[in-house]
């Protein structure tokens, strides 16, 4: 009896010993080398989604040089212009001081606007669920426009020339190809003080998404809804439908939109035309952004 028991034990020990040996080297490695939680890359391709900012910032030491253009026709049948009647542009520079903090500035042809912004990535989505399921970026912009009074009565006061936009950009990369963004927005526009009884504050929310259709090409769309539109003129929520195409260090963004301005306060609060293909409403947008690495790792 005793011997039998010992024998069984021996057989077990053999099987067990054999089993230990049977576990492959690779499965042992994979068990030990867990895949850590990483920061999600490229929720959006660019620091601008389409017409507005995205949650993205560049990595430390990267300078972004951007040229933004919008082209549209005047709603007059007799226009003789080649390609487009009107053109609006902004050139911008932004530098990433850290992986999370970017400062940018730009100059726009409309009213010689000078703008600056600071962008801070508060949370970065992690690919391993629980830690941080969303990316959250804070954006503060300021713009100064060289404008005159509507009735031609000389230049505006400084306080009337400035505007600010504060945004909380919240985004999630839902699948490797699909990302969504929602952006509660607060806008202050000094210029509105020219209109009696008009509020200087606007509240809006932005919705944006991108769908990647190829390794370097994605379709993007953006829409802003303004809760308290200005009363003295008809405004429409800016909408954009576009394609982002990435070529190594160059990002090209093409878009169809009703927004003809580049700074948030203006295109969110004061887009005066609806989105359709009629002259005067239809705008073609083209942004080119080039990145320069100042810090090599």
């Amino acid at each position: 009896m005793k011997i039998n028991q010992l024998y069984i034990l021996g057989v077990f020990a053999l099987i067990f010993g054999g089993m230990q040996g049977q576990e492959s080297l690779l499965s042992k490695l994979e068990k030990e080398q867990e895949i850590p939680s990483y920061e999600v890359l490229e929720t959006f391709k660019g620091t601008y989604l389409s017409i507005g900012h995205s949650v993205e910032t560049q990595k430390k030491g990267i300078l972004e040089v951007s040229s933004m253009n919008r082209f549209w026709n005047k709603p007059i049948e007799t226009s003789q212009s080649f390609v487009a009647d009107k053109w609006n542009a902004r050139v911008g520079l932004s530098y990433a001081f850290t992986d999370r903090f970017t400062f940018g500035a730009g100059y726009g042809t409309g009213y010689k606007s000078v703008d600056a912004y600071a962008k801070y990535r508060l949370f970065i989505q992690q690919n391993n669920g629980r830690k941080s399921p969303l990316s959250v970026t804070l954006l503060q912009t300021a713009v100064h426009r060289d404008k005159s009074k509507y009735d031609g009565g000389g230049p505006l006061d400084f306080s009337e020339k400035i505007a600010f936009t504060t945004q909380v950009l919240i985004a999630r990369k839902i699948t490797p190809n699909f990302s969504l963004q929602i952006a509660p927005t607060y806008i202050y526009r000094g210029e509105e003080s020219l209109i009696p009884n008009e509020s200087l504050n606007r509240y809006a929310v932005g919705f944006g998404g991108r769908y990647r259709i190829g390794g370097h090409v994605s379709v993007v769309s953006e829409y802003y809804y303004v809760f308290n539109e200005v009363d003295f003129m008809e405004t429409y929520g800016p909408f954009s439908l576009g394609v982002n195409w990435e070529l190594s260090d160059l990002l090209l963004q093409f878009k169809l939109t009703n927004a003809r301005h580049f700074t948030e306060d203006k295109f969110i609060a004061k887009t005066a035309n609806n989105f359709n293909t009629r002259d005067g409403n239809f705008h073609f947008g083209f942004h080119a952004t080039y990145v320069i690495h100042f810090k090599k790792r």
Binding site: Y7, A13, G17, E30, Q33, P176, G215, S248, H293, K296
Partner: protein, 182 residues
Amino acid sequence: MNKKVLLIILLAAYSGLSQEASEMIDRQGSINFFSYTSVENIKAKNNQVFSNINAVTGEIAVSILMRAFVFEKALMEEHFNESYIESDLYPRAKFEGEILDFNPSMTGRETKKIRGVFTLHGREKEIEFKAAVEKKKNKYIISGDLELTVKDYDIKIRPILSPNIAETITADFNFEYVPYEN
């Protein structure tokens, strides 16, 4: 009779143990890869590669986390992970094979062929390459380099960027194996 059974138990236990003892691991192995073209040179390094060997049979395995590759330019790293390797879908590359004609009682340094299946970007491919195998006290050091053809692993490079990325990537590796600690 009793003694015989005891012997079986001991043998069995030992066979399990010895198999364990013959396995060695490196948790900080390094792999660098290079792509040289006239347009752009791309370099990446990874010092967190896991590899183990069976110092009796000559079996070898490697597990590489794709996100652990560090590039000179941050943007290259993003493109590597997002557009080429798709590290969300295929977080690791693996190799499983054996050192051919492995001699467990070797001393010093020998050049050996290693053959096995390499899995990258979810695609498997049988590869064979030469490596220097060195025994130093209770350590094994395996190092060498190999060439990988990008096409074999279904990694798509758009025609417009094909001048920037070499068709064959050179990778070098260095592993120092120590016995599994108990």
